[in-house]
């Protein structure tokens, strides 16, 4: 059946760079391990399974440079292997503990398979999950895009040099990792402002995404609303996020993830289990923490955590099937309504954080698979397209300049600029300004290897200080001490290194330690921060 509309599905995968080789069980590294087991492995498995059956997923996946670096970090891969092994060891004990409780036993077995699948996929790719993603892109099954080097909220970087550094480092990182130049750019937090049009184009990007309300305050009326792409005056392609398809997945009121059959995020064996029993699987500090073994379901709206019932994987999958059907029925109605009104086929752009699928919404990967399968099985007149495919085949998009916006709470920059986190900006700007000044000073000088290394590491530290994650963690009060320490350390280390180069007294031992810990962007050249007239 010919298509009556197209769907562009974007999964944005990002984690802040967390790498602590000095600690064998660093709490925040669990963010990465949990996301690998619950999100990245299941999504890659879905994509590979579909591709193997001749069902082309046709989605776009954004991999942030910091996440990409973690996925290729051998020390983290080793720790991930230990994490998975320890969970499998615990699950063996859990099988015995649950042997007289059929409902619990079913869920324990389900988790055992989840971790066995993760171990198998990691083994298949020798621990490097970039390999299957690269293969899927090479085979034309998906399109991989990138985002700012350390996920900085670009409209909050006043200096053009800082924006350029975020874009240039990301483009180079992508080329190194995926062996081709990037075409698409995911704006961190969907944070857009018009000056980014030229910066993105000058950095070699062809298209990006904005929030839907960016069109409400655009320079010209957007006749097709979010249902078609646009272009800026300098030829940058723009896709606007469809609010309806987002709401069904994200919203607390209407969203699928709140279904009573779905897994409850907050009940975890790390909190529920007998302390001595779970102690070997906690960190060296012995403080209870999530172990990733969550045996309960949401059960009901407002149900007390203690009143949650056991998770039933089969019942949850039945709801996945119903939700996938509902999601597609709503997309069909959108396309039918648009076609009836306009006589043309709409494009529905659905963008989500990848970690929603699996980590937060445990059944998310199964939902994604069900949606893609149903289009084929039920011969629905919808097709998944990648952004580049769509731009290459659609009519010349209308020119527009969207309004300043983000996908954060309230639609602008409040989550990253408020009284809980605004104190960080003097440190971010102190490092950034000094980095730019020093890059300009030394850009044309012959430098010793040691001084070059110090300047390159200062550039890495400056980029890491600019990450949106520190402000956000401070805002929500989660891991706030860690966020503050990281932000302050990156800014201080950048300033220290720059000072040492200027004063010709680089501490090589301290530099080597920083290079080992914050080893992102291996080809970093500090000159990326130097002023360029066209920027």
């Amino acid at each position: 059946m010919s298509s009556r509309g197209s769907m562009l599905f974007v999964l944005h995968a990002h984690l802040p760079y967390v790498n602590h080789p000095e600690d064998s069980a660093f709490l925040e590294e669990n963010w990465f391990f949990e996301a690998v087991v619950e999100t990245y492995v299941p999504i890659i498995s879905v994509l590979e399974r579909l591709a193997a059956e001749g069902i082309r997923p046709g989605i776009a996946v954004s991999i942030s440079p910091t996440l990409g670096a973690m996925l290729e970090n051998e020390a983290l891969e080793d720790k991930l292997g230990l994490y998975i092994s320890s969970r499998l060891e615990l699950l063996e004990k859990e099988l015995d503990r649950a042997k007289d409780d059929p409902a619990l036993l079913k869920t324990v077995k389900f988790y055992q398979k989840l971790y066995e699948d993760a171990a198998a996929l990691m083994h298949k790719y020798s621990g490097d999950l970039i390999t299957p993603l690269k293969s899927l892109q090479h085979a034309g099954q998906i399109e991989i895009i990138t985002t700012a080097a350390t996920h900085a909220v670009l409209p909050l970087l006043a200096r053009p040099e800082a924006v350029r550094a975020q874009l240039a480092a990301a483009a180079e990182d992508y080329e190194d990792r995926f062996n081709r130049k990037p075409s698409g750019f995911w704006l961190p937090e969907c944070a857009y402002e018009p000056r980014l049009n030229s910066y993105l184009k000058l950095s070699g990007f062809n298209y990006t995404f904005t929030e839907s309300h960016a069109l409400d305050s655009a320079s010209a009326q957007a006749p097709n609303g979010v249902y078609s792409p646009y272009r800026t005056s300098n030829g940058l392609g723009l896709f606007a996020r469809d609010a309806a398809s987002s709401r069904e997945v994200w919203s607390s009121k209407f969203g699928y993830p709140g279904d009573p059959a779905y897994r409850e995020f907050y009940r975890d064996l790390g909190y529920d289990g007998d302390y001595d029993y779970v102690r070997p699987y906690l960190g060296s500090d012995g403080i209870r923490r999530p172990l990733g073994l969550k045996y309960h379901r949401i059960t009901g709206p407002g149900a007390d955590l203690s009143a949650k019932e056991y998770y039933d994987p089969e019942a949850a999958l039945a709801r996945v099937d119903a939700h996938a059907s509902d999601f597609l029925a709503r997309r069909m109605k959108q396309t039918d309504d648009f076609y009836a009104a306009r006589g043309s086929r709409p494009l529905i752009v659905s963008c989500y954080d990848a970690e929603l699928f699996g980590h937060w919404w445990f059944e998310g990967p199964a939902f994604l698979e069900a949606v893609i399968r149903k289009i084929r099985a039920e011969r629905l007149p919808l097709q998944f397209v990648t952004p580049s495919e769509y731009l290459n085949s659609c009519q010349e998009p209308q020119e527009i300049t969207p309004g300043i916006s983000s996908w954060g709470e309230n639609g602008y920059f409040d989550p990253w600029v408020n009284e809980t986190n605004d104190f960080i900006y003097p440190a971010v700007y102190a490092a950034t300004d000094k980095m730019i000044e020093t890059a300009n000073r030394f850009r044309n000088q012959d430098l010793s290897i040691l001084n070059t290394r110090a300047l390159n590491q200062a550039a890495r530290e400056t980029l890491l200080a600019q990450s949106s994650d520190w402000a956000f963690l401070l805002y929500i009060g989660s891991h706030a001490d860690y966020a503050k320490k990281r932000l302050e350390a990156h800014a201080a280390d950048a300033l220290k290194l720059l000072g040492e180069v200027i004063e010709k007294r680089v501490d090589e031992q301290a530099l080597a330690a920083l290079e080992q810990q914050n080893n992102v962007f291996p080809r970093m050249n500090f000159r990326v921060f130097a002023s360029v007239s066209k920027f």
């Binding site: 937060w360 300043i404 104190f423």
Partner: protein, 129 residues
């Protein structure tokens, strides 16, 4: 109010950032000599933050603050658009311009913000809890 745990190099800096359609965030720092001038009362402790429209440099609004405060939230002037800030201090009865900021663009209100499904993991985490 949270603060940095370690001091920053004393430098002159005034930065204006967009927050939302109604609010700019501004922060400032002083070089050691300027800070000393405030400490020794060469400058009055109350400073003035003036906003200008960037397109024609006309004054848009002005706001008082204490020099040590280091940061403030300013209402976006009526015309919105691109603005820049300047920091003035009073010495011997005359206002002196000490710092100038970058340009910052205020977002335009798009409406319906509260109805939208904002995609942030932690937002999602909160609403599901």
């Amino acid at each position: 109010m949270p603060e940095l745990s370690r001091p920053l190099p004393p430098e002159d800096r005034l930065v204006l950032l967009p927050k939302n359609p109604g609010t700019f965030f501004v922060f400032w720092q002083f070089s050691a000599s300027r800070a000393e001038s405030f400490r020794t009362a060469s400058f009055s402790p109350e400073i003035e933050l003036r906003l200008y429209y960037s397109d024609d440099k006309t004054p848009a609004s002005s706001h008082k603050a204490q020099w040590q405060a280091g940061r403030a939230y300013l209402p976006v002037p009526e015309r919105g658009g691109n603005c820049e800030a300047a920091l003035y201090a009073l010495r011997n009865g005359a206002w002196e311009k000490l710092l100038e900021s970058n340009q910052a663009a205020a977002p335009v209100t798009a409406g319906m913000a509260e109805d939208r499904a904002y995609a942030s993991l932690e937002f999602h985490k909160k609403v599901l809890s």
